[in-house]
């Protein structure tokens, strides 16, 4: 009676957790399998905004063949894993891009393709063009170029696959892995 109890701190809570013997040996292969499955079946949302979309289409076409990387274009955001923003985004278009992004299930990734989607490009002084899609969606990979060559885009996709392979798949409360620096492709190209 009258004794004030000390509140349970986070450190104390952590110290109570007892690891399952051999747990890491069980979890690690499961995580490896899930990472492998995720990174090799990146379905991309089918949409193109301007001239970069032509280059994106030619990347998907037989000569460069995105199918080699398990990447096909899916025409619904509900079954897509990655969004390639290919081209400039106007102020009028931005809410719709945001809505498409919100409709995609986790885990979801964004590749900003081309100078306009990365930072506004030649329209940076324009009042109607958004200065980079990272103003309203989180971007994982920036692929610079005007437009970037298909090799550049494939480089970005491979870097994204590396990033997915290094992410923790099993996290508490559906958190994504530790936040990393965004990957920038072809900045000085």
């Amino acid at each position: 009676m009258g004794v004030k109890e000390k509140p349970v701190t986070k450190e104390e809570m952590e110290s109570w957790r007892i690891p399952i013997p051999g747990g890491a040996a069980i979890i690690a292969p499961v995580e490896r399998i899930a990472q492998w499955a995720r990174k090799n079946s990146l379905w991309s949302l089918t949409f193109g905004l301007s001239c970069c979309a032509i280059e994106m289409m030619s990347t998907a076409a037989p000569r460069y063949d995105l199918d080699r990387f398990g990447m096909i274009f899916r025409a619904t955001p509900r079954q897509a894993d990655v969004m390639i923003v290919a081209g400039w985004v106007s102020v009028k278009m931005a809410p719709y891009i945001k809505r498409l992004y919100d409709q995609m299930p986790e885990p979801k990734y964004v590749i900003a393709m081309g100078g306009c989607a990365c930072a506004g490009g030649p329209y940076r002084d324009s009042i109607t063009i958004v200065k980079g899609v990272d103003h309203f969606v989180p971007v994982d990979v920036y692929v610079y170029g005007c437009p970037p060559r298909p090799e550049n885009l494939i480089n970005g996709i491979l870097k994204l696959q590396e990033k997915i392979a290094s992410e923790h798949v099993l996290t508490r409360n559906g958190e994504r892995g530790p936040l990393r620096e965004p990957i920038v492709i072809g900045e000085n190209a």
Binding site: V91, K92, A94, V130, F136
Partner: protein
């Protein structure tokens, strides 16, 4: 090329200061007063000698004191073209809509409203700012093709222009 009789019919209907008839090659060029524009359009559509049944283009620009408004009409039957030129004052930019004559004028008039703020009286969406906007977002401030337009920076990329940098 319209016959001289048809052109004289046109000149009888309108006074000198309402309408000036000119020729550019084989095509008529009509400089018309802003108020009698609708009357002229109705006449050109109804008269069997003209029969302009297709509105090719409707465009405007800013010259400072007023907005010139050009209508280009085409007659499928006679293979005629006519250019109607009129001026809308900057202080009171109101002109009669021609959507009831050529329904295709709807989007062209909305574009003129969107860029210059010219009010088309009788347009189906007249007075409804959000519906009249066709190219700009619905909540845009101002008319961006006017020479004195200054953007209002909202800073929010989803609703308007951001700061210049």
């Amino acid at each position: 090329m319209p016959t001289p009789e048809a052109v004289s019919k046109l000149q009888q209907l309108f006074s000198e200061d309402q309408l000036k008839v000119d020729w550019a090659g084989k095509d008529l060029v009509l400089d018309v007063d802003c108020d009698s524009m609708k009357k002229l359009c109705l006449f050109l559509r109804r008269d069997p000698d003209f029969d302009y049944d297709f509105l090719v283009d409707l465009t405007s620009w800013d010259i400072g004191e007023s907005f010139p408004l050009w209508y280009r009409l085409y007659s499928m039957r006679f293979n005629h073209t006519v250019l109607i030129r009129t001026n809308v004052s900057r202080d009171n930019p109101i002109i009669a809509s021609v959507t009831d004559i050529w329904p295709g004028a709807d989007w062209l008039e909305r574009e003129c409203f969107d860029m210059y703020g010219i009010d088309f009286e009788g347009h189906p969406f007249q007075g409804d700012l959000a519906q009249m906007r066709i190219l700009m977002p619905k909540d845009w401030d101002g008319f961006p093709f006017r020479k004195d337009y200054e953007p209002v920076f909202s800073g929010d990329p989803l609703h308007g222009p951001q700061e210049r940098n």
